[in-house]
Symmetry: C2
Subunit: 453 residues, 2 copies
């Protein structure tokens, strides 16, 4: 079981892409403070892709690693939408951090909610009653949160999709809507219960829309013979004029065609004004009555970023040097979704995706090793493995190495990559098994309404 955890580094890029020592790297704007005493202590906040890869990259370093997370598991968020649509149990995409670190003798884990960082005293604060945690080096990899752009009513009245609880809540809500609709005599109320609005046409929104359509058409249609499945609507609202803006235009078109064939209504140029009491009000004045409204329109840096007093850029992400550390506190590294660094495809900011977090986590760890050894730090270099999104059964889009693929081959590539990156033998088998059952029987065993009494 343990050996499988190393597979996450199978596609290790650094062997093929040599790190380059750059000018910025060798001259941080402030000098690093001295190590307090004994072995340097590296504290890592967050056990996601960035933090976990940083911890593992420090396995052979002469440091003490302390990894902190408010969960005791690493969540494989790329498959979260499948938990929300009854395709996978949540336990299949979560893996205990302590199991991952068991054989790494220099690493310890603590389950803690990091409230803030005292950058000057080099202390991580984890809330009342707990001792502050001192560090010599700090890697902040706390990920992202839903971005409601300051609109608290949006946060209250929509369902997010950021963690296991969100996914289970969303699954319960969707299945509960069908249960209520089946017992509802009024046709207007029933129609509104069976209207599902997804706000945001990025990969999360598209994957969610496709998975909901399959759940309704293949599974719930048979579960609820008294409901007319033609009464259900899935609306994908996007404020801009295109879905999947990060993908090439040919793949956008392919995804759009596929979604429309699956019965998803794509509404472009539809900015949401408010969501109140089951009614979505759009900026053009029109309204949609929907029992379920999913928020997939934006993410921002983890709230921890706001407590640092460091400079923040778009989506509240923390501005970092090309060596991934803070200009004023070079012993503090920020990686992944929390970090803002330009240089992607020329001048864009690196996107909030798993590959950036993985590669930045490793680079931060190596830069700490370099600094301890008295070597200069290297700038982050990104190896782009491409991006992909799945739309439904035998259908995905795949954009990598100049190759634009859509359809079954892209879907098989998507399956393969996701199984490779999933941690743990048990989880891989359970995910593969669920997919196989799903594929061959059109069944989804996890359509359970859980929680509550």
């Amino acid at each position: 079981m343990k050996s499988s955890t190393t597979d996450t580094t199978t596609l290790e890029p650094s062997s093929s892409v040599p790190a380059v020592e750059t000018q910025e790297g060798s001259l941080p704007q402030a000098s690093m403070p001295a190590i307090r005493t004994g072995r340097p202590r590296v504290v890592i906040v967050g056990a996601g892709f960035g933090g976990l890869n940083a911890a593992r990259a420090l396995a052979k370093a002469d440091v003490d690693v302390l990894l902190l997370d408010h969960n005791n598991y690493h969540g494989f968020w790329p498959l979260l939408y499948q938990v929300a649509t009854a395709g996978l149990e949540k336990e299949a995409i979560a893996y205990p951090v302590r199991a991952i670190l068991r054989r790494q003798s220099n690493a310890d884990f603590r389950m803690a909610h990091v409230e803030s960082v005292d950058l000057d005293k080099r202390l991580v604060l984890t809330g009342t009653g707990s001792q502050p945690i001192p560090y010599d080096y700090l890697i902040l990899a706390a990920g992202s949160a839903d971005n409601y752009f300051g609109n608290n009513a949006l946060a209250r009245n929509t369902l997010g999709l950021k963690d296991l609880s969100d996914a289970e809540t969303l699954r319960n809500h969707v299945l509960g809507a069908f249960e209520r609709a089946a017992a509802e005599p009024d046709p207007e109320t029933r129609r509104s219960l069976l209207t599902f609005v997804i706000i945001g046409g990025g990969p999360t929104g598209v994957e969610m829309a496709g998975a909901l359509s399959e759940l309704f058409r293949h599974v719930l249609r048979k579960d609820y013979p008294t409901l007319d499945i033609g009464q259900t609507s899935i609306l994908l609202l996007e404020a801009s004029d295109r879905i999947l803006a990060a993908f090439p235009e040919s793949l956008q078109r392919a995804a759009k065609r596929k979604l429309i064939r699956m019965g998803v209504q794509i509404k472009l140029g539809m900015a949401v004004e408010s969501v109140e009491d089951g009614t979505v009000s759009l900026k053009d004045g029109s309204q949609i009555h929907a029992g379920t409204v999913v928020w997939a329109a934006g993410v921002r840096s983890s709230m921890l970023a706001d407590t640092l007093g460091a400079e923040q850029a778009r989506n509240a992400r923390v501005k970092i040097l090309p060596t991934l550390n803070l200009a004023q506190h070079p012993e503090v590294f920020v990686v992944g979704d929390m970090a803002y660094l330009e240089g992607y495809k020329g001048k864009d900011a690196y996107p909030m995706v798993a590959q950036v977090a993985i590669q930045q986590g490793k680079r931060a760890a190596r830069n700490i090793i370099s600094h301890i050894a008295g070597r200069s730090l290297a700038s982050f270099r990104y190896f782009d493995y491409g991006t992909m999104a799945t739309i439904g059964r035998s259908s995905a889009i795949f954009d990598a190495f100049g190759i634009h693929l859509s359809g079954r081959l892209a879907w098989l590539g998507w399956l393969f990559i996701h199984i490779i990156y999933l941690i743990g033998f048990r989880n891989r088998v359970i995910v593969l098994f669920n997919w196989a059952v799903n594929y061959f029987t059109y069944e989804r065993g996890v359509r359970l309404i859980t929680g509550g009494k």
Copy 2:
């Protein structure tokens, strides 16, 4: 996937045990009211072993069946303690009711919480805002609830194990206790965090104690290298002078020996006075400081029993005729944990176990079919397949057909029977796979602290 659901009737007893038409059966004390109109409507409350088997036994009858449950799934509670001890994901022991009933054209399901029954008007009441549900025949199979014998503080300060939420809460609590202990500097507090008290030495308490011991000794010992696993204690408190009172004495002794070898401290004759703020006070005046207190000391009939106005016996179970219906309302059948009927091994009441519920559910259904056909009702006859409990790895006790088994063979029998009775191909494979991983690697993948943010 669908065909497997019929396997729950594999061990169908009625073919080998002919139903006997008895005196009581042919002469119910009150006569049944006439069918209102059209096809008779059978309402079944509860989708557990009793209700589900009743519904399926009505598959070919000329009736409309409406099955009600407050969950949308059938829970396989015999494996609930494995969910609570991180051995199985909760989704593996739950199966959607609608999937089970899909091919039964005369059956419908509604997710609803039944609050009470108006026996005179023949209406099932499911709470404010919902239409009362009329019935011609009613089968009450709402199962059981934890019995705290009127002590509300016990209910508040202990952890129960009655449904999926309970099991997930208990798992989170146990794993959380280790996380807190790992960060706790005070040795007294740490020792109390690592003390686990189970109140009740019946099958649930014994299985829970064994599973916790294995979780601590095989898994958490490696997860928490800084904790001394010798500091953990598992105490099994039993008020009477023996554990597993329903089993033969030789098997009680075998179970006791095994538990002691696994490090479980068995305290007999220990009645609990109160549980407050992490302290268990016993009737003999002594106290135990424990971070986790599990209540496995008693169950009672579902609270629904108290709303009927029918005569209740021990554990609030509803007194029924040998034909399984109420003397005053012969159109109302009560089966399983809710029902009180003497005649088990001579004069005892039938125990609150799955086999009684399964066989009573089928008998109630057949008696309704008989009544519609103008035939007399048959008394319940129990075919005893025996009882079993698992204690740990390769260890169980098994008492059936006069054979008393303990050890590996009993354990294999236990595995086999539980897989047979589990509904659904997906769940069977996932449970078997988890058991195999657990057996060969001593790993438990589901040691996740979920819920909450």
